[in-house]
Symmetry: D2
Subunit: 157 residues, 4 copies
């Protein structure tokens, strides 16, 4: 059975809330899901998951350093994440505050692992973006991400 991990870094709770929305929707697709803080995510988790969804606040237009650090250390298994499915989401303090570049930077890390990512023709194209506290719009975007990744993982299983 397929398994998807939702790994996030959160200090204000905003990114955590987004992670919860995403993982709930993954579960509704009948796919096993693990919701973990980045700090608790191991390199072996990355190996075990068929889909990896990563969330981060927007720090200087990129993922928080602990997210980057996890990916830097994942070089230990470089090549072994090839073909897994990835997705990303970000929270930020304001519109135009670097949230898109944060998501794109996470997707780039995944592409360099040889992973598969999918955009969205509706709503937040690269991945869900929350400006401050997640509202109803963000909830819908996060649910859409969870559904999309879960379905792609099942299709590729």
């Amino acid at each position: 059975m397929s398994k998807i991990g939702v790994s996030y870094y959160s200090r204000s709770g905003n990114t955590q809330k987004m992670a919860e929305f995403v993982s709930q929707r993954v579960k509704e697709e009948g796919v096993e899901v693990e919701l973990k803080r980045i700090e608790d995510t191991t390199l072996e988790d990355l190996l075990a998951w068929d889909g990896i969804i990563v969330g981060s606040p927007t720090y200087y237009g990129g993922a928080a350093a602990p997210v980057k650090d996890l990916f830097d250390r994942s070089v230990k298994y470089h090549g072994r994440l090839e073909g897994k499915v990835g997705g990303a989401f970000a929270s930020s303090a304001n519109i135009g505050g670097g949230n898109e570049t944060t998501i794109v930077s996470i997707l780039q890390m995944m592409l360099i692992h040889g992973m598969i990512v999918q955009g969205s023709s509706q709503g937040d194209h690269y991945g869900p973006v929350s400006i401050e506290k997640p509202d109803e719009r963000v909830r819908v975007q996060c649910k859409a991400l969870g559904k999309k990744i879960a379905r792609l993982v099942k299709k590729l299983a």
Copy 2:
């Protein structure tokens, strides 16, 4: 005397409105400003301007093709824009809709010309972003861009 050009592509009028806010603020700094549609902007305009500010709607995460086409043709004067000051802004239909990547793509074109660009520690960091019709927040951001570019052009004159 220094001269700044504000060149924009607009179909809905949203990007044009932003261009007007930017150029008004440039003028208030005592710098001559030319406000032109991309279609009316010549390669010689780019040579003549000390500062070049470009605005575009967000089409598939980048500047509209006519904006890209102007830059592609600017290779005729490649090397001669070195040291000029640049800035960019974008309008888009929704948050997370590609507006940041649009602005960054315009700044990259300018960097490849050897131009100088400046971000902002407040508000829209890479350049002003409007979601749909420019509101008061966007007006403030556009004014800030006009002021910043005008002051940098004067400082470097």
Copy 3:
């Protein structure tokens, strides 16, 4: 039966050569392939293809304007490319010359269409890059892209 289109813009012949390598390898996977210049690629081609691979020279850190123009016009079918597979490659005059940002900008256009893209853990991570005339290294990278996209299209069929 699945069909993949390789659409490219080329003036020097370098990007065309890359396109030929890519399409040959797609064919070797038993997938039908259409090799077309961007100028000859129609919006209906995009609809008809299960996989879309786009190549461009590096012009100011992004795809050539005719490539951008095709994507801008593809808004006519926005939403209908959702779930198709995409890939990109670029030629450029020099290392650090904007080739990666060109490829990423094409992948972003595809993500905004809701398309699926895959990176590579070996070699050119985002997509094949040629510095000047394609050499043996580039041939290998282009072949790898053709193989990867063809297999992903077959898997998702």
Copy 4:
């Protein structure tokens, strides 16, 4: 008198070599230079320097986590780096390996601080890129960066 800091992260020595080339050329412009490892760079250094040049190896298409961590912590002085001059360079294992996106991600961090960055119309447009050990081409690019940043810092002083 103006002062420029060249701060780098290096494990193989390649990025360090690039940092040395850059800092030598800054010195030749008659500008004081401090060459520091990222691990030894303090937030107060960032405040004290008029120009900040940052080098990193290419790890998953972005700066190494210790570089990102320094910028994340620099939020303590957010707003106070406004108007400083920035530059970036990167080493990587291969062409198309994420070096450009690494440099762009560093420039984005600087823009979000309100810093001023300049591209180059010749050679490596966003900043110097080394593929493996720095060769003569890279030495020239690094020297060009040191010269450019030093002159811009002097002009803005």
